[in-house]
């Protein structure tokens, strides 16, 4: 399966080996981002690339896509030395990147996007007939002829947009397709569809590199895996032969005994109650009770209205009917300022767009919701320093801009804001999205400790093992309706999925 080591860089590779990277090194100033990474992927195979945030996955893929030139190391594509000078050269050579953040022109049509940059022309004019033909072929190749070619991409769902991006890759004759965290914003049925498509591309002889935090996905889709840690490839092999624990221990460099610590929680009085809550669009009807010392999970498909429920409770979206009772105060629509003052805080699902002012410092972000009339920078920095230590935020100091931190550390800054504010009720929307296993474990531990201290926590997550692992009760949301919460011991992942997809009554 693997490519045999080479005697000299110029030797021709066996044809089965589509791409090989050998001893890639890349340094940025004081940071050795890549310290010798090697990997290979065969035609008709899926290689999973796993590692914590900051392990060097993105840098490695930027080297592969020509955005960075490596300081040392060699690459071969189909046995030929491959040294792309820029991303366009990589694309022409057949290396297609599908990033987490899709790079589509939202106002242009599906077919225009598929052929963006390589439009067929008749003299100076667009050749619309051939554009349509090539785009139709590409969509047929990925098995989605049902999407109209003339629809503006912005009107498609995220999953469909991703398909357009994959169609663009196949239309340009890709040999290697790199998918970077492709499922992070997809619903469960869309993920099934994506995996079918990846299997299809694999069977068509594409070499696929699949980057993901979700080890269950890695297990399901990949033939082989490579683990990066601190800029080095620290292990790999056949996915079927490796246990999940083994992969995790390679990723974090230590043994993870238990990802989900859970101590006995003592539910106390009701801190938050919602009755028949409805918003402009979603939720349509939601009732819940949250007690002191309890972690309540809200499961459901993306688009079921879970985020909207939290936003309505927190006063970010309008409430059209129903009541929210915080402590002893009951009412309809509210404002975030009032919720904060009532001892409630919310963590946004989207760190960059909403959760954090990434251009500002760590200190500014932590203290933003709780500033006195006068602000002493030395004091806010001292406060931030405390939280940096408490939550083990890896950074250069409290004055560092949040944009420079890794995803996991950014999330800790966002959570630190809630803790510094001293809220009793924490609404956490996808608290571990897009962060590495090490930070996830720390956040799980933190949530457990908060509940033990008598805080009340609501966690919205699309990742069921996580909800099952950290929550006391779970309520399932389906098409805007919140079903009654039940003790986690009476639930299975299967029963939750059935309820979430509306299959169970």
């Amino acid at each position: 399966m693997t490519c045999p080591p080479l005697a000299t860089p110029n030797t021709r590779e066996p044809s089965a080996c589509r791409l090989r990277m050998e001893a890639i090194r890349k340094r940025f100033d004081a940071t050795q981002a890549l310290a010798g990474v090697s990997l290979s992927v065969n035609a008709g195979a899926v290689l999973a690339l796993v590692g914590e945030n900051g392990a060097g996955k993105s840098t490695l893929m930027k080297v592969l896509s020509g955005a960075y030139t490596p300081d040392e190391g060699h690459m071969w594509l189909e046995g030929q030395p491959y040294h792309p000078s820029d991303p366009m050269a990589a694309r022409r050579a057949g290396v297609a990147m599908i990033y987490q953040e899709l790079s589509l022109a939202k106002h242009l049509s599906v077919m225009e996007n598929i052929l963006l940059g390589i439009e067929p022309r008749l003299g100076p004019f667009m050749d619309w007939r051939r554009t349509r033909q090539i785009a139709a072929d590409a969509m047929a190749q990925i098995g989605r002829t049902d999407i109209p070619l003339t629809t503006p991409v912005g009107r498609l769902s995220i999953a469909e947009q991703q398909l357009v991006e994959i169609a663009r890759a196949t239309a340009t004759g890709s040999k290697v397709v790199v998918l970077d965290e492709p499922t992070s914003s997809l619903t469960a049925p869309d993920i099934v569809g994506l995996f079918k498509l990846i299997g299809r591309l694999r069977d068509q002889g594409q070499a696929i590199i699949y980057i993901s935090h979700f080890l269950e996905e890695v297990r399901e889709i990949s033939n082989r895996f490579v683990v990066l840690r601190d800029g080095q490839s620290v292990g790999g092999g056949s996915t079927a032969e490796a246990t999940t624990d083994h992969i995790i221990s390679l990723m974090v460099g230590r043994k993870v005994e238990d990802l989900y610590p859970r101590s006995q929680h003592q539910p106390g009085e009701t801190l938050l109650a919602a009755q028949n809550l409805a918003g402009e669009n979603k939720p349509t009807r939601a009732s819940l009770e949250l007690h002191r010392g309890e972690v309540l999970g809200i499961a459901g498909l993306v688009g079921a209205g879970r985020t909207e429920l939290l936003r309505a409770i927190f006063g970010l979206d309008a409430v059209t009917s129903g009541h929210v009772k915080v402590g002893l105060v009951s009412g309809g629509s509210s404002r975030p300022a009032i919720r904060w003052s009532q001892g409630m805080g919310m963590l946004s699902e989207d760190r960059k767009a909403e959760g954090l002012a990434v251009g500002l410092s760590i200190a500014d972000n932590i203290t933003l919701s709780r500033l006195g009339w006068l602000v002493r920078p030395s004091r806010t920095q001292a406060i931030a320093r405390q939280w940096i230590t408490k939550l083990n935020i890896r950074c250069a100091g409290p004055a560092q801009a949040v944009v420079d931190l890794s995803g996991g550390n950014q999330q800790k800054v966002a959570i630190a804001r809630l803790l510094y504010h001293g809220v009793d009720v924490l609404l956490l929307d996808e608290p571990t999205r897009g962060i590495d296993v090490g930070s996830k474990a720390e956040i799980y531990k933190l949530i457990d400790e908060l509940a033990k201290k008598g805080k009340a926590v609501i966690v919205v997550s699309s990742y069921l093992p996580e909800l099952m692992g950290i929550c006391d009760r779970i309520a399932v949301m389906c098409r805007g309706q919140l079903h009654p919460a039940r003790a986690v011991s009476s639930l299975t992942e299967e029963s939750i999925m059935l309820e979430a997809t509306g299959a169970a009554a």
Partner: protein, 332 residues
């Protein structure tokens, strides 16, 4: 890696503290170095006339009006807004003050009236932007024309000569210790606004709104109310600039200050403000304003024609935007 760093292993996108500090210092040092550089340049070319006390006073005096307008517009820019109507606002204010003085209103009240007119202009801009949810560039493009129209109507399209009062002497030398009153007003506003931005909750909220309005909302900041206050404050500062402009002209002029908005914005950007919001410094803005006026003065002394001066100023504005871009380039 420095020992103050808590980074224990290589992390993508990490910046060592030393490098980080250099970047921050450079942002403020940039306009200061630029200012010294142009002084040396013009000093070498015109040693007799440029490096004189009289010329320095002249430059500072010319920086007062645009400098105060720029101080007022800096919070607007930090909050990711823009106000291109400030030139027209200054024109309305000069006319209003002239009319008030001629109506025998006490000079002090006339001056406050002018500031009030400026604040009202800011309130109109702010109300359209927050309550109607319109784009600030488009709103102030509209009022850029509309306020000028108000000045024309009030003045019947000609300069309004005003009765002589002490208001005419705010920019004249010898009336206040060391420098004219206008310069003292500039210094006072510089200090107050810089302190406000750094040491008050309102100031920090301005940065938060400009950096990420959604985050500001999430954190319970009354975003619309804060934005309205920012535009009203900017308008009031423009009003003060207008009163000093009136003092300079000793008349109400509906055509005055056509280039002021762009010069003020350029001063803010040269001084470290980002047109995408979240960044900016009052000290930097004033340095930027003095920098632009120094170049104008130097060009005059080198006998460059009006056209050449405008070309130079225009290129500096482009250079300032380029600076803004370079500053915001981050490691991908």
């Amino acid at each position: 890696m420095s020992d103050t760093s808590k980074v224990t292993s290589p992390v993508e996108g990490d910046v060592t503290p030393r490098r980080f500090d250099v970047r921050r210092v450079l942002t403020l040092l940039g306009p200061a170095i630029g200012l010294v550089a142009v002084c040396i340049l013009f000093g070498a070319l015109r040693p007799d006339s440029f490096l004189t006390r009289a010329n320095a006073q002249n430059i500072i005096l010319h920086s007062v009006v645009v400098g105060i307008a720029a101080i007022g517009t800096t919070p607007v820019i930090i909050a990711a807004g823009i106000d291109i109507s400030i030139g027209a606002t200054i024109a309305v204010v000069t006319v209003a003050v002239a009319l008030l003085v001629n109506a025998n209103v006490p000079p002090l009240l006339a001056a406050f009236g002018g500031v009030g007119v400026g604040a009202a202009c800011g309130l109109f801009n702010g109300a359209c932007i927050t309550w109607l949810g319109l784009n600030p560039f488009i709103v102030t493009l509209g009022t850029f024309l509309a306020f000028r129209g108000v000045a024309d109507e009030l003045s019947h399209q000609q300069a309004v000569a005003a009765n002589a009062t002490w208001l005419n002497n705010l920019m004249a030398p010898g009336q206040a210790p060391l420098v004219p009153w206008g310069v003292w007003i500039l210094i006072a506003l510089l200090v107050l606004t810089a302190l406000m931005l750094r040491y008050t909750r309102f100031g920090r909220h301005i940065f938060a709104i400009g950096s990420n309005e959604q985050t500001a909302r999430l954190c319970g900041i009354a975003v619309n109310r804060a934005k309205l206050a920012i535009y009203v404050l900017g308008g009031a500062f423009t009003g003060i600039a207008g009163v000093l402009m009136f003092s300079n002209l000793t008349e109400g002029d509906p055509t005055t200050s056509a280039n002021t908005p762009l010069t003020a914005i350029a001063a803010a950007v040269i001084g470290g403000a980002s047109l995408t919001g979240g960044q900016g410094s009052i000290v930097g803005t004033v340095l930027g304003a003095v920098f632009i006026m120094t170049i104008r003065s130097g060009c005059t002394q080198l006998n460059f024609s009006q056209g050449v001066q405008e070309m130079v100023t225009g290129l500096i504005i482009i250079l300032a935007v380029l600076l803004d871009r370079l500053r915001n380039l981050r490691k991908a």
